[in-house]
């Protein structure tokens, strides 16, 4: 056996005075960190396998456990940081591409944290959402350019099909396969209960979940897994996934080992074969090809389903969005570089794409400059962390947001960023039956509904403070925003003023 160059990042700290040797931690840890030493009659830990997911900590009945960052260190070096050195050791050992999960964790600017909201004082009144109606309903989809009347002069409904949401929040695409059956059930039921939509991702739609169709976005991605007529007709909308914020320009790969049972059936991929989503759609090499796919899907579904085109926020996102807005799509979804993933090459996740705040601001402005903002609605994700991020995103110009990571956190995810191992102790990013059953959909769906409801309350409070009683008056209302500590250029791109101006 060669030398082990790596020292574990985390250490399990066990308070021996509290530990009662109940062995819950041992049973709960799929990474086999904990074990019972019969000879000494104590619990032991093998820290090397710990991913810091807090499952053992949360379930320890005597609160004997905590996970601490190791203080073991390399010689301090601002350039060759410990994490960088360790990655080289790993790659020198394996010869492989580094993989990571969830969103980019690095220290790039978070523009949402540098934007502040307005409130009414004196010249107009703030509105109390507990006393007055405060409206958060939104419609997504393209708007007609003119009105039509019947022979009696009544307005004819000439709207193309769209999406109605009780709050401008949707659960973003996470496939059955990347997350568990129970996680999907929780999302689907929560979407129905909250009056919003969830998204199948590229994993097809399990037959059990067709009943939630009116709250479902069905995704068509480059692998076309699980796509057939009934699937397209099952959902409230169809999303063409062109890109993902966590890995722009990269496809997906679900290993054959995970293509078993229902996942195989739902994806329509034979058991045991790898499900590989190519980096591009091989029938879309340019914008005119996208238009054909948009209309193919519309033809297939009799123009009854709005089509969303999801792209990753990359450098020329505004020009790309402008093309999409003229392609027949009804909605553009933009995924920022901090968006989550079940697995992505680390270098891609951490270095490709741009912040969603800047992408959103430039897309919204560009579509307005070109007079085509009404052609499409804009949905943004990657990453929306709380209700104030939502309010800021909408004031920058979004119609709605996608939340993925936040939804998983509500289900118990602790952001240990080890989804790619398939050993999620919280029953979310795993297909192992004994782990999946840890996530109870009856509880999971309620926690998601709670989260959406809590955010709705907060959005209403913030809107009321600004004297706005309907969310459509917040959309693109950039005067309600001020930047702090931002450069002239950043303010210009965001289209906002600096605090104090």
């Amino acid at each position: 056996m060669g030398i082990n160059y790596l020292y574990q990042e985390y250490e399990v700290s066990r308070n021996m005075d509290r530990c009662i040797n109940c062995r819950v931690c041992e049973r709960q840890c799929a990474n086999e960190v904990h074990s019972f030493d019969k000879d000494k009659n104590i619990m032991r830990s093998d820290d090397v396998n710990c991913v810091n997911c807090h499952r053992c900590v949360a379930l320890c009945p005597t609160r004997a456990l905590k996970i601490v960052k190791t203080d073991h260190t390399f010689k301090e070096n601002a350039n060759w940081r410990g994490s960088i050195i360790n990655e080289i050791y790993k790659q020198a050992e394996s010869g492989a591409v580094l993989l990571s999960s969830m969103g980019n964790p690095n220290n790039y600017p978070v523009y949402f944290d540098k934007i502040l909201l307005n409130a009414s004082q004196v010249t107009n009144p703030s509105i109390d959402p507990l006393r007055e109606p405060m409206e958060t309903k939104v419609f997504l989809g393209s708007k007609p350019k003119s009105i039509q009347r019947d022979k009696d002069g009544r307005l004819i409904n000439n709207l193309s099909c769209g999406i109605e949401l009780s709050v401008p929040i949707m659960f973003s695409a996470m496939s059955y396969g990347s997350i568990s059956y129970n996680a999907h059930e929780s999302l689907a039921r929560a979407a129905k209960e909250a009056g919003i939509l969830y998204n199948t991702g590229e994993g097809g739609l399990h037959k059990d979940f067709y009943q939630y169709g009116s709250n479902t976005i069905v995704q068509v991605a480059s692998g076309r897994f699980g796509v057939y007529k009934d699937y397209l007709e099952a959902g409230a909308a169809i999303e063409i996934k062109m890109g993902q914020g966590a890995k722009p320009g990269i496809g997906g790969h679900l290993p054959g080992a995970k293509i078993v049972g229902d996942i195989s059936k739902t994806r329509m991929v034979p058991e045991g074969s790898d499900a590989i989503s190519p980096a591009p759609h091989h029938d879309i090499y340019s914008i005119e090809d996208l238009r054909q796919l948009v209309y193919s899907l519309k033809e297939t579904t009799n123009y009854k389903k709005p089509v969303i085109v999801k792209i990753a926020a990359v450098h020329n996102v505004a020009a790309i969005a402008s093309g999409i807005a003229r392609s027949g799509a009804d909605i553009i979804a933009i995924d920022g570089f901090r968006g989550g993933t079940g697995a992505a090459p680390t270098r891609i996740r951490d270095n490709v794409g741009i912040p969603i705040e800047l992408a959103l601001a430039s897309v919204d402005q560009r579509l307005r400059d070109e007079g085509i903002r009404d052609n499409v609605s804009i949905v943004v994700g990657g990453s929306i962390r709380n209700s104030s991020d939502i309010v800021k995103a909408i004031a920058l110009g979004a119609d709605c947001v996608y939340i993925g990571t936040a939804a998983l956190l509500a289900l118990g995810c602790h952001l240990c960023r080890s989804c790619q191992t398939g050993k999620c102790n919280w029953g979310i990013a795993t297909q192992s039956p004994e782990l999946v059953k840890r996530l109870n959909p009856d509880i999971g769906f309620k926690r998601l509904v709670n989260l959406v409801g809590a955010w709705e309350h907060e959005i209403k409070e913030m809107m009321g403070g600004m004297g706005i009683n309907s969310i459509e008056s917040l959309k693109g209302n950039r005067l309600m925003l001020r930047g702090v500590g931002l450069s002239e250029k950043e303010l210009q791109i965001l289209g906002i003023k600096h605090a104090g101006e």
């Binding site: 939104v138 708007k143 307005l155 903002r373 009404d374 706005i468 009683n469 008056s473 209302n477």
Partner: protein, 363 residues
């Protein structure tokens, strides 16, 4: 200090309106008396009037009222007008010296009609052609500002208390079937005449009391449709929204009130099917033109006047009726002072449009 248009200035206000359904033309004295009653609602930093039916002898021509900073801007603007319009008549607008109105710009009036060749070349209709020319002058000619551009109507405004503005413009010498008035209470001001209200485009004029919270959402939307909000005032954006929805899209004023002061969903949900579908459609299609925050507005247009409050009625507004006359004002006293014995007086609900139009066959 930044001028109006370079900075957004919130203001409180008083508004008043008089309308004769039979088309009876009344002089400006009554409206001055009415708005003067609400003296304390303004602070002397802006007042103005819109009057309809005042130019019957020139009723087929656009009446352009223009402020000039000096001779240079006037020369440049008149050259522009000559290139685009047939100028039927031009004159200084008559004013009276009063110590309470100072720093007056040059104030001119032109009765014009678009040159047929220019109009044909532009492939626009007459109103759109005229509106675009007005915007071109206001944006492109430094020191020139067209503040009134409708037919058989005119706006008169200045920095000062409204009653003094009325005296300054000799409004007792004009008579119209509709008058609206405005007294302004800006929280700060550079004291620019163009910033006073009413704000007008073609024959639409708006006087407004309030501060809308949806301003930038509305502005960024309406600018996408070819308007340019140079003043950054609520009144300007509201005028453009009404012009867009009425003249360009073809919505009725009642439908427009369902867009800008839309009923709440809980109200829409309890409406009969047809109404429900109508208001849902309007709120969906024109969602970005919903106006929130306090406002009471009087919209003057050819042959009519509309009074409208925000959906929560966060600003006072009272309507009075006497025979063929309809009155609207921020306070009841401003109506009672000119008509003591009203047939009916009431406060319309938030979002409930009160629309008065000329009786059939009048004018």
């Amino acid at each position: 200090m930044l001028k109006e248009g370079q900075i957004r200035i919130p203001s409180g206000c008083a508004i008043s309106g008089i309308f004769s359904k039979s088309g009876k033309r009344v002089s400006g004295e009554s409206i001055i008396k009415s708005i003067a009653t609400m003296h304390d609602r303004s602070n002397g930093l802006g007042g103005g009037f819109a009057a309809y039916g005042i130019y019957p002898e020139y009723k087929d021509y656009y009446a352009l009222h223009v402020f000039y900073d000096g001779d240079t801007s006037q020369e440049e603007c008149e050259k522009f007008l000559e290139r685009h319009f047939d100028i039927i008549n031009l004159s200084k607008i008559p004013t009276r010296k009063t110590p309470r109105i100072t720093d007056a710009p040059l104030i001119w009036r032109y009765f014009v009609t678009p040159l047929p060749t220019k109009l044909a070349e532009s492939q626009l209709d007459e109103k759109e052609f005229t509106a675009r020319c007005v915007m071109k002058i206001n944006m492109g000619i430094d020191g020139a500002y067209v503040f009134s551009s409708g037919k058989n109507m005119g706006v008169f405004k200045a920095v000062g208390y409204p009653e003094d503005v009325g005296e300054f413009y000799k409004l007792e010498e004009y008579s119209g079937y509709c008058w609206t008035a405005h007294g302004r209470y800006p929280t700060n001001t550079p004291g620019w005449w163009g910033g006073a209200h009413p704000f007008a485009l073609l024959d639409y004029s708006v006087v407004h009391n309030g501060e809308i919270s949806s301003y930038d959402a509305n502005r960024r939307t309406i600018e996408m449709y070819g308007y340019k909000c140079t003043l950054q005032t609520d009144t300007e954006v509201i005028t453009y929204i009404i012009d867009y929805l009425n003249r360009k899209i073809g919505l009725s004023l009642e439908e427009i009130s369902g867009v800008v002061a839309a009923p709440f969903w809980q109200v829409i949900n309890s409406m009969p099917k047809e109404e429900n579908e109508k208001y849902t459609y309007l709120r969906n299609v024109f969602s970005s033109l919903l106006i929130t925050g306090p406002f009471s507005i009087l919209v003057g247009f050819e042959g009519g006047m509309m009074a409208l409050n925000d959906r929560l009625k966060l600003r006072s507004m009272v309507i009075g009726e006497k025979d063929d006359m309809v009155y609207a004002a921020s306070e009841e006293c401003a109506i009672r002072v000119i008509e003591e014995n009203l047939d009916r007086v009431w406060s319309p609900k938030g979002g409930e449009a009160v629309i008065a139009t000329l009786n059939r066959g009048v004018i």
